[in-house]
């Protein structure tokens, strides 16, 4: 059966972020992780493709063991196998070091047809991992994808950017990152599969299990390095006015007049 590799990420629950003052990286071990919201559309896309074409789905993620519940959540929705890439050596990876590990792990799962990811993660917000992984796998990459379907002899991908909508033909295998606006719905997990997931454990791969060059891993293997972090201080600029809404509106209108935005 043809395979979809679905990559997901556990991201810190907004408001719980701590930065290690020494390494300037995110303290991931102590964090409460949630499924990266833009991954939801990649999961829904996977579920639709599986329904239509009967794919076998591998969900894969890199992170500490506290991401396992997220893998199980995705198992409950769509996945057939779970893979966790976990090793202290991966800690502090930038997007290139992350993509390198992902690409090596995905190679292990060959042959496969599609690699799907969310457009970006809400913590790093780089959107770099899907194209970087594709480049390392020497596969075509498409970002901002909102539809994928098969025609007689080829696969068709619809991508949407600020310029408009493109319809492209591409042969698998390829890597696609899915547009957050692609769907406004993610199907719930099935109870039966969630129960299955309770006793099923993911395949855990550490650095030694994969064909990896140690110099390319983790904080030290990352070409981009944080040299300094500082907290942004808020400067207090002006006046604060309290009152009932109509009073506030009058104040605002007079400012807009002063600034020449509206005519008095």
């Amino acid at each position: 059966m043809e395979k979809i590799i679905l990559c997901i990420k556990g991201v810190p629950k907004p408001g719980t972020v701590k930065v290690d003052p020494k390494t300037h990286t995110l303290k991931r071990e102590s964090l409460e992780l949630i499924l990266n919201p833009p991954d939801r559309q990649a999961i829904e896309m996977t579920a639709r493709l599986k329904e239509t074409y009967g794919f076998k789905v591998y969900v894969i993620t890199m992170g500490p063991p506290n991401v396992i519940p997220l893998l199980k959540e995705v198992y409950g929705i769509v996945a057939d196998e779970m893979v966790l890439l976990s090793d202290r050596a991966f800690a502090g990876s930038d997007t290139l070091a992350t993509s390198y590990v992902l690409a090596q792990a995905i190679k292990r799962l060959s042959p496969y047809s599609l690699v799907l990811m969310g457009l970006k993660s809400i913590d790093g917000e780089t959107s770099q991992v899907p194209p970087e992984t594709a480049a390392l796998l020497e596969l075509p990459s498409l970002t901002h994808v909102k539809a994928i379907y098969k025609e007689e002899n080829s696969w068709v991908v619809i991508r949407q950017t600020e310029y408009g909508e493109e319809e492209l033909e591409v042969n698998p295998p390829f890597v696609a990152s899915i547009l957050p606006e692609a769907f406004d719905y993610l199907r719930p997990p099935s109870l039966k599969r969630l129960l299955e997931a309770k006793v099923k454990e993911p395949m855990v791969l550490a650095a030694n299990d994969l064909d990896l060059i140690p110099e390319r891993l983790g904080l030290n293997g990352s070409p981009t390095q944080v040299v300094d972090v500082f907290e942004k201080k808020i400067e207090i600029k002006g006046q604060v006015i309290e009152g009932d809404p109509s009073f506030l509106v009058e104040k605002l209108v007079s400012v807009l007049e002063q600034k020449g935005i509206i005519n008095p």
């Binding site: 993509s99 809400i122 390095q225 002006g238 400012v255």
Partner: protein
Amino acid sequence: MFKKYRLENLEKGNLIAFGEVFQGMLHPSSIEILTPLKDLGLKLNKKVVLVCLIDDVDSFKDLELLKKCIADEIWMVCHQELAHFRDDLYAEVLVEMVKATDPCGLFFPATSIGCSLAPRIAGRLNLGLCAHVNHLEIEDGKIVMTRPTYGENIIAKLISNTSPVMATLSIGAFSAIYGEKEPKFFEVEMPSDFSWVSKLKVRRFTPAAKQPNRLSTAKVVIAGGRGLRSKENFQKLFELAEVLRAEVGATRPVCYEGWVEEDRMIGISGVTVRPKVYIGLGISGALQHTVGMENSEYIVAVNIDKEAPLVKMAHLGLIGDAPKVLDLLIKRLKK
């Protein structure tokens, strides 16, 4: 029309900016990112080169704009296969260029295309890449990139240990400036064995029905956050925008809620605005958002919470319920 140069004969070691051309039009951010690069170029004694990939010169519409820009040189790669952006082929052209001309920096506007293309090149050449950088400087001879990070009030400074240094630069974070001296134009001849093939075949392109918004250059910006409480309330911003001839902006959470399209997101991975007047309604002011609007001339914050960061940094903080204030303001202005 331009002097033709073989790729291997072009000058080496430059700062390269990617000039994004789509359907013959140059993305304005391509001009903006030249501003910080020119400054780096002066400090490092390097030339700034803007590279455009186009299908042919006759269908390129922004030549006059390029003549006024502050790049030292413009390199045009012209080939019919470049008529439409395709990630793999565009990346390979630039990979060849990096290999042949050994630039010290390679920068992209953080547009959809820039954010698709830059990581593909970084992956091909195993280079470090920083995303959504909004400040560039030189420290100890090294290019240091600044970006807000982690969604908290933390700014990070980064360097890259690989060369060229690569980054995507936030849209609107830098203002375009124009020069007196016309840049030198070259048409780049790719090696004869370069393979102009892509695994992506464009079957159809449908231009977006609506014009792209003009947030980054708007004189008045009205932005809404979660404090507006519903998509319906958020939509009223457009009504207000019409009266004030303003553009509507948004915070990240409301874009993710689907209240408005993501191209209206102000902040780190969205647009940077610097209007005459910015009005933020129901926005608490996470750094993610404020880095994209802090240089506005006059900031008004409407929020129920006196302690909200945006209220503190505003020139005028109005403490009240944002949806109520919005309704009243529209009524008042339409009178």
